[in-house]
């Protein structure tokens, strides 16, 4: 980068980012170093390869620092990369949907952040390239303000932003909510990953848990099994809670009225700040997986126009929390309570029959498999058949109870699912098109799955098993005129 570049407004990453890679490398060797210090032995021979493994990332970091630049012109933000083949990625400012600031512990130590610009070009590779890894904290905050001002002023030409208004807090994490952590699937995944890492580090330090077989025998097999199961459960809960805190510690959701943005901050070690343009929020998705629902909890994410499925992390509004809090924030985001609280239209009895046949068909197949296994291996397995049938019946009933839809205050509302129940709320102006899917049995029952496609969130909102005539009325009312030429 030379004088001309500076004249043209190109700016560099912060110089401190050069330290990120070396510090990270030292961090990676830390467990081994501790191992050497404590036990006087090393896990693996590093030698020449070890040095190679340090030098190359550092050199790459140096190159990245030298070749990465960014600038904001009147209408666009540009990021450039590359030494030999230079590439400039540009995005119009009015296409900026979200700005993400993340800081790993190393970044925080050095006062740096990574800034990611979400422009919502669905499935575009440019998304990754519109990231600046290693900006100084204040510089990043300033850049974010400029990026979002660009997008907001473009959306409302007459809206002149008023500076320094106190943001209103919409949600602050209550530490009591960690009780929901073990009840979510992400909790299970995080706990599993953590267990893997722990096992790995034990192995690399060559610590093997020792088992005293004599003592085990005296306890008896039954007590042992109970102990092991309890141990696994407790470990699991602890890990899920730790994972919840790592991601959500200090969770604060605020709204700024002056530039009309939602601002979210969370994270214990790696902090993450997301700013969402309110005008781009086209709806919300209230998640009530079975576990959370039993504990009267839920979670909330926004459907942001232009954000693809991969960037769902940028759209979280409420982490696993009490259902009342979820509803309160959902109402605050939408500005009205109808789509969140109003009762839904129940589906026809034929939809109930379909839930039951489908669930019992699945349970029946499992039962047949179990009986075959029982015949081949052990008769004990046959005892599981009633369990499978009961689970099937439970699922059918719960899935039927979930089914519902509504068209309230300009929002399309749909609820379905049991293990992963969701109530999705989408503004009708964000509905792009419609898909009517019906399998042969559905056609015979006169039912259809109605899907509204949209450019945000999961890209679609589906109303399951609604009567054919009703599906057309619903779509016709939500998007007047679109279906008209094709109505019988």
């Amino acid at each position: 980068m030379d004088v001309y570049d500076q004249l043209l407004g190109w700016q560099r990453l912060d110089r401190r980012m050069l330290l990120v890679q070396p510090v990270r490398e030292v961090g990676r060797f830390l467990p081994a170093l501790i191992g050497v210090a404590l036990f006087g032995r090393s896990a693996e021979g590093g030698g020449l390869w070890g040095i190679f493994g340090v030098v190359v990332p550092v050199a790459l970091g140096l190159m990245r620092y030298a070749t990465t630049g960014y600038r904001i012109t009147e209408s666009r933000v540009e990021v450039r990369h590359g030494l030999v083949s230079k590439r400039v990625v540009a995005a119009p400012l009015d296409r900026v949907r979200t700005v993400d600031l993340t800081a790993s512990p190393i970044h925080r130590l050095l006062g740096l952040v990574t800034l990611r610009i979400g422009t919502g070009q669905a499935g575009d590779k440019n998304e990754e390239r519109l990231a600046l890894d290693g900006l100084a904290g204040p510089a990043a905050a300033e850049l974010r303000t400029r990026l979002l001002q660009g997008s907001v002023s473009a959306a409302e030409p007459d809206g002149s932003p008023v500076a320094d208004e106190q943001p209103e807090v919409a949600l602050r994490l209550d530490l009591g909510w960690v009780r929901f952590a073990p009840l979510t699937t992400s909790g299970i995944v995080i706990a599993g990953a953590a267990l893997g890492v722990i096992a790995q580090s034990f192995r690399s330090l060559e610590i093997l848990p020792s088992v005293d077989l004599d003592r085990a025998e005296r306890l008896g097999a039954f007590a042992l099994i109970v102990l092991v199961v309890l141990g696994i459960l407790v470990t699991f809960c602890v890990l899920a809670v730790v994972g919840y805190l790592l991601t959500n510690f200090g969770f604060v959701l605020t709204r700024r009225r002056d530039d009309d943005t939602w601002h979210l901050r969370r994270g214990l070690l790696t902090t993450r700040e997301t700013t969402l343009d309110h005008a781009r929020i086209s709806g919300v998705s209230i998640g009530e997986p079975l576990g959370l629902r039993l504990a009267r909890g839920g979670r909330l994410s926004a459907i942001v126009t232009g954000l693809s499925k991969k960037q769902q992390g940028s759209a979280v509004l409420v982490p696993p929390a009490p259902r009342a809090e979820v509803d309160r924030v959902a109402v605050a985001v939408l500005g009205i309570s109808g789509p969140v609280a109003d009762p839904l239209v129940r589906h026809h009895d034929r939809a109930r029959r379909r839930r039951w046949t489908r669930a019992l068909l699945g349970a029946g197949l499992v039962s047949v498999a179990l009986l075959l296994l029982a015949y081949a291996a052990s008769w004990w397995l046959a005892a599981l058949v009633p369990v499978a049938l009961l689970v099937g019946a439970g699922l059918a009933h719960d899935r039927w109870r979930a089914l519902g839809h509504a068209l309230v205050d300009g929002y399309l509302v749909s609820r379905s699912g049991s293990l992963n129940r969701r109530r999705e709320v989408l503004h009708t102006s964000s509905v792009i098109g419609w898909t009517f899917t019906s399998t042969y049995p559905q056609r015979r029952a006169g039912l259809v799955d109605l899907t509204a496609t949209t450019a945000g969130g999961r890209q679609r909102v589906t109303v399951l098993d609604v009567e054919e005539g009703l599906s057309c009325e619903l779509a016709n009312e939500a998007t007047p005129g679109l279906l008209e030429p094709f109505l019988a």
Partner: protein
């Protein structure tokens, strides 16, 4: 209130195009089964199972393309695109012209054999693309031009 099917059928040759492509798709399964049992002798496939597999595949190749032809339809108006695809599961898709982003024209290897083409219309939603298979190649190019013309004249930034 009910939707009627779209007005246009795809080219009748599409039936044979689907027959060939379905057969080509199922052939590897048959070959794999033969290699595993007859050539490597991993396990014995009884004669009756061979009969069942071959009959099932033949029935699929013979019937499904015909069924598909009865279902596949499309229609373009000044305001919207409407397609109907599938066989067991029927899918009707409607997208407004103001939200059309790209219009693709594709000719696969099997399609070329029959002089057919596929037109694909995408919108800002990755769940909302419309695909019309089995169009006559000339007709497909005309359709792309027509769609591009209409989409250009309809106001809106397609997001």
């Amino acid at each position: 209130m009910d939707l009627r099917p779209p007005s246009q059928r795809v080219d009748p040759l599409a039936r044979w195009m689907w027959t060939v492509s379905d057969a080509l798709r199922l052939l590897p399964v048959l070959v794999a089964l033969w290699v595993i049992s007859g050539y490597w002798h991993w396990f014995e496939v009884p004669g009756w199972l061979w009969v069942v597999v071959v009959v099932a595949m033949a029935a699929y190749v013979a019937l499904v393309p015909q069924w598909r032809y009865l279902v596949h339809r499309w229609e373009v108006t000044e305001t919207a695109v409407y397609t109907q695809t599938g066989w067991w599961a029927r899918e009707r898709r409607i997208a407004p012209m103001s939200r059309v982003q790209t219009v693709d024209h594709r000719v696969g290897a099997v399609e070329r054999m029959f002089g057919l083409a596929t037109v694909r219309i995408t919108t800002a939603s990755s769940a909302g693309a419309l695909t019309i298979e089995g169009l006559d190649q000339v007709q497909a190019i005309d359709l792309v031009e027509e769609l591009t013309r209409i989409a250009d004249t309809v106001p809106g930034d397609a997001t």
